[in-house]
Amino acid sequence: MEGRAQMNEGEDIIICRCEEVSRNTIEDTIEQGCDTLDSIKRRTRAGMGLCQGRTCQRLIAGLLRNKTGKPLEELKPPNFRPPFRPISLDLLAQEGYRLRKEDELRGDGK
């Protein structure tokens, strides 16, 4: 059941809602030889948007399985890297600066 019945045949529909990547684009990419979630993501940006693939990953895995016959067990999600939630670089930089200052004050800054 998994993946199989998650979309209807032959329609070009949006799969990745964040980056607005369509089914056709993803299927073309698979036909061109991309056979992992990671490579599809790099090529099409599907799964690279704000939600980080949480909404579309399963759908893409389903497309991949249908097209390539690869079992889902072989389709590992792409690497998850922090930040897992949107966070502004400004905020990160501020905190980094603060921590470094703290370290310097303690005298163990590297």
Partner: protein
């Protein structure tokens, strides 16, 4: 507020009284303080919360738990705020976000 559930057989009557006003694209909307921004907007029949960057499609609440990011809006000048889990505060200025949104020029 036609979509508000005032009476409910299990939850009882909604007794919240702390109605505040928030501004959505220049229009004043009533909202309960502390409820998610998206809930207040949907209650006022504002369904489109943003337009996508490429096709300009309208989007709305989808997961309601801060994961899918389809409900992001510009709140008090900061874009990409997940309105499904961000509570309403009195006088908030909320804008429908176009694409990735714009940061206000000079942060206050």
């Amino acid at each position: 507020m036609g979509l508000r559930i005032k009476y409910h057989p299990i939850l009882g009557e909604d007794l919240r009284k702390d109605v505040v006003s928030i501004e959505v694209d220049g229009r004043a909307i009533p909202a309960y303080e502390g409820e998610p921004i998206a809930a207040a907007l949907i209650a006022s029949d504002i369904k489109t919360l943003r337009k996508t960057k490429r096709i300009g499609e309208p989007r709305s609440l989808f997961c309601a738990k801060g994961v899918c990011t389809d409900c992001v809006m510009t709140v008090n000048g900061t874009p990409n705020i997940k309105t499904c889990i961000t509570p309403v505060e009195k006088g908030m200025k909320i804008e429908k976000q176009e694409g990735l949104g714009k940061w206000r020029e000079e942060p206050k």
